[in-house]
């Protein structure tokens, strides 16, 4: 326990150093606005991927409606800052809570489904959310919610990303998290052991949804606009791709997936004709040779690094 805390502190320290370096480079204008935007996008995608990973990777429920929750967060947050002039932090909380409540309400009935059925239900759900928004004139309907101030910046995104990662990491290592993992491994066995599987599925779903809402609020407050076209099922698939690419059930895998895919997409922006082709080919090759994702369900952690450099080996997970 003590060792874990120490490790957490060390990681947090590293994160702060990393933040200081990037922020310094940003302020010195060495990282231009284009890459700044993509770094912010990476942060938002990490939150999305990590929260989807909690549902898909750790609890083993196949959800593909994440864009819907993101949309709820984006719009609720935008309404709070634009229409009610509330501070940004309240909007962030509001976006997360709203998405979480929706996740809870929807999770209760749908999580009784499993496998393909749940996938279809969540896919439909994401679309329902998007189309509902499309038909609410109060938030701009089909033309999108405009005039959102850019309140999110690298600092916000970075620390919320770190918060998300620590939250989910600690959740996974708690008894609740282990209950979730046991559901993934064998639902019947978990139930036999006295785990209330529906409760834990709904818990994971709700938490995943609320972090997606948080990411949505950041998203709309960085890009000045919340538009239904940004939250189609293609976005859900993007997030899913990040998770699967990085490795289902690996925290660092989700982070790796989010970072890689966002930067690849950005780097290929100069070759519009080939962008989607290269992107897709790299995914196909990866899935052919590494179907479990880049990291599988392993984690990159300090102890592995230590082991590689000849230090003591401590079992992870």
């Amino acid at each position: 326990m003590q060792a874990l805390r120490k490790q957490d502190l060390l990681l947090l320290g590293l994160a702060v150093v990393f933040y200081a370096i990037v922020q310094g480079l940003l302020m010195a204008d060495i990282i231009g606005p284009f890459w700044e935007l993509n770094i912010v996008l990476v942060g938002i995608n990490i939150i999305l991927a990590a929260s989807l990973n909690l549902i898909n990777g750790f609890t083993g429920q196949f959800s593909i409606g994440h864009a819907g929750f993101m949309a709820v967060g984006a719009y609720v947050g935008a309404v709070m800052t634009v229409k009610f002039s509330l501070p940004f932090i309240v909007a962030l909380a509001g976006g997360a809570v709203a998405a979480g409540i929706l996740g809870f309400l929807i999770g209760l009935p749908t999580l009784r489904l499993s496998g393909d059925y749940l996938a279809i239900a969540t896919l439909g759900l994401g679309e329902i959310i998007r189309i509902t928004i499309l038909n609410i004139p109060y938030v701009g309907g089909a033309s999108g919610f405009m005039g959102i101030p850019r309140l999110a910046d690298f600092t916000w995104v970075f620390f919320l990303t770190i918060f998300t990662l620590f939250f989910i990491k600690n959740l996974i290592r708690s008894s609740h998290g282990r209950a979730c993992i046991s559901i993934r491994e064998n639902e019947i066995a978990a139930e036999t052991m006295g785990i209330d599987t529906t409760r834990y599925k709904v818990l994971a779903f709700t938490i995943g949804a609320s972090f997606a809402g948080l990411a949505g609020t950041l998203f709309s407050h960085y890009f000045y606009i919340a538009h239904p076209a940004s939250f189609t099922f293609m976005r859900s698939f993007d997030i899913l791709t990040m998770v699967v690419l990085g490795g289902l059930g690996s925290m660092t895998g989700a982070v790796t997936g989010a970072v890689l895919l966002t930067f690849i997409s950005a780097a290929l922006a100069s070759y519009p004709e080939w962008r989607m082709v290269i992107y897709s080919i790299s995914l196909i090759i990866l899935m052919l040779y590494r179907p479990q994702g880049l990291l599988g369900d392993k984690e990159i952690s300090l102890s592995i690094i230590k082991r590689l450099t000849g230090g003591d080996s401590r079992a992870e997970n």
Partner: protein, 390 residues
């Protein structure tokens, strides 16, 4: 061994994928003193409305190619740097940021759709780089919250104008007294047009006798058509997109509605005739940016050049892209420099510019005053009916 081999391949792939990142970072872009002018093009090349983006880009490229062949602008060639925005507002913001900060363009053409353009507007304003959209028709693109967006320009007419054009066409050319409106409630484009048409038509002495609504992706319109038919209008105004319009027209004709049906540029697609099955479309009219049947020599020259370059008929977006590029080129010529501020001023002062679809003058809201055409459908073919000047 076999397992190891896979592991290494995985690692190599990861490295290869990371390496693609460096492609974007690497290579400092040339300074602005070279003998070319860099213009950004932010288009919908993939995603939902990829066909719009592609057509528009073709038009823009054609205009730039023509001017470069004639020696360029002020002795410099124009270099169009294209970025794809995947038909998504956030990606559009990303693309414009890239064009402005990485490629150091002096002005941007695009995006095509209003929402994507609005997502980029703030970035362009912050960086003080003028943006010209050849196609975004929402009034909010250039004018928002009671203020003109200083850096944003467009070269096509705005939505409400078409509503007025059709109201005038109905009242003056068709000389009808009563009209019904059948609106697509899921699109702002449709709702906006319906409102303008209602006001303009009433002002011209006409009367709106019925209004019904549908949603995109609906397939059965019979009950609404029955109601519209019962109110006995002289004409039905359907400001919507071709997909639904095709089915509405077909079902209306099947139900014995023979009165003229009129609409707007959302009707413009070869698919319309396919969906409605040709003859049903007789006695329908819609407003558009141009008609390839227009005998105007400028239009014919453009159509010929476009066919030669791309081996296909230009649609409205292609000609709008072409016009947009002409407007940008004209501004660059008059600015006489590559300073974004000068280009912005020159764009704002665009006056009596001859473009393919007519003469274009920018008003104080950065919206062009230019003519529209009315298209009549005859046996599934678009024919040029008349030109409506503002």
């Amino acid at each position: 061994m076999g397992k190891n081999w896979k592991k290494w391949l995985g690692a190599t792939l990861a490295v290869a994928m990371s390496a693609t990142l460096l492609v974007g970072c690497g290579g400092e872009k040339k300074a602005a003193t070279s003998n070319e002018i860099k213009i950004g093009g932010n288009f919908e090349l993939t995603g939902n409305v990829a066909n719009y983006g592609q057509s528009t880009m073709n038009g823009v490229k054609l205009a730039i190619k023509e001017v470069n062949e004639k020696g360029g602008v002020n002795g410099k060639k124009i270099n169009l740097i294209v970025a794809d925005n995947k038909s998504e507002p956030a990606e559009a913001a990303n693309a414009t940021t890239k064009l402005i900060t990485q490629d150091k363009v002096v002005a941007v053409i695009g995006p095509v759709t209003s929402s994507s353009l609005i997502a980029t507007a703030q970035i362009a304003t912050d960086k003080k780089i003028p943006v010209l959209t050849p196609t975004a028709t929402s009034p909010k693109v250039t004018f928002d919250n009671g203020k003109v967006r200083e850096m944003i320009f467009r070269s096509c007419f705005i939505d409400p104008f078409q509503g007025e054009v059709m109201a005038r066409f109905a009242a003056n050319s068709m000389k009808v007294k009563t009209a019904a409106i059948y609106v697509d409630n899921s699109s702002d484009y449709s709702k906006g047009l319906a409102e303008v048409f209602r006001n303009a038509f009433t002002k011209l002495g006409g009367q709106i006798v019925a209004e019904e609504a549908f949603l995109q992706k609906d397939t059965d319109f019979k009950s609404a058509i029955t109601k519209l038919k019962a109110s006995n209008p002289d004409v039905i105004f359907i400001p919507a997109y071709y997909q639904e319009v095709g089915m509405i027209v077909k079902q209306a004709r099947e139900m014995g509605v023979t009165i003229p049906l009129i609409g707007t540029d959302g009707w413009d697609s070869p698919k319309l005739a396919e969906i409605a099955s040709g003859a049903a479309l007789n006695n329908t009219f819609f407003s558009n940016h141009y008609s390839s049947e227009d005998k105007d020599p400028r239009i014919q020259a453009f159509v010929a050049a476009y066919k030669k370059e791309y081996n296909q008929n230009p649609d409205a977006l292609a000609v709008l892209g072409y016009d947009g590029a002409l407007m940008m080129i004209d501004a660059l010529k008059r600015a006489g420099s590559e300073e974004p501020k000068k280009i912005q001023e020159a764009l704002a002062a665009t006056k009596n510019l001859q473009v393919a679809t007519g003469v274009l003058t920018l008003d104080d809201k950065h919206n062009p005053v230019k003519s529209a055409v009315i298209i009549e459908m005859k046996d599934g073919k678009q024919t040029f009916k008349e030109k409506v000047n503002p």
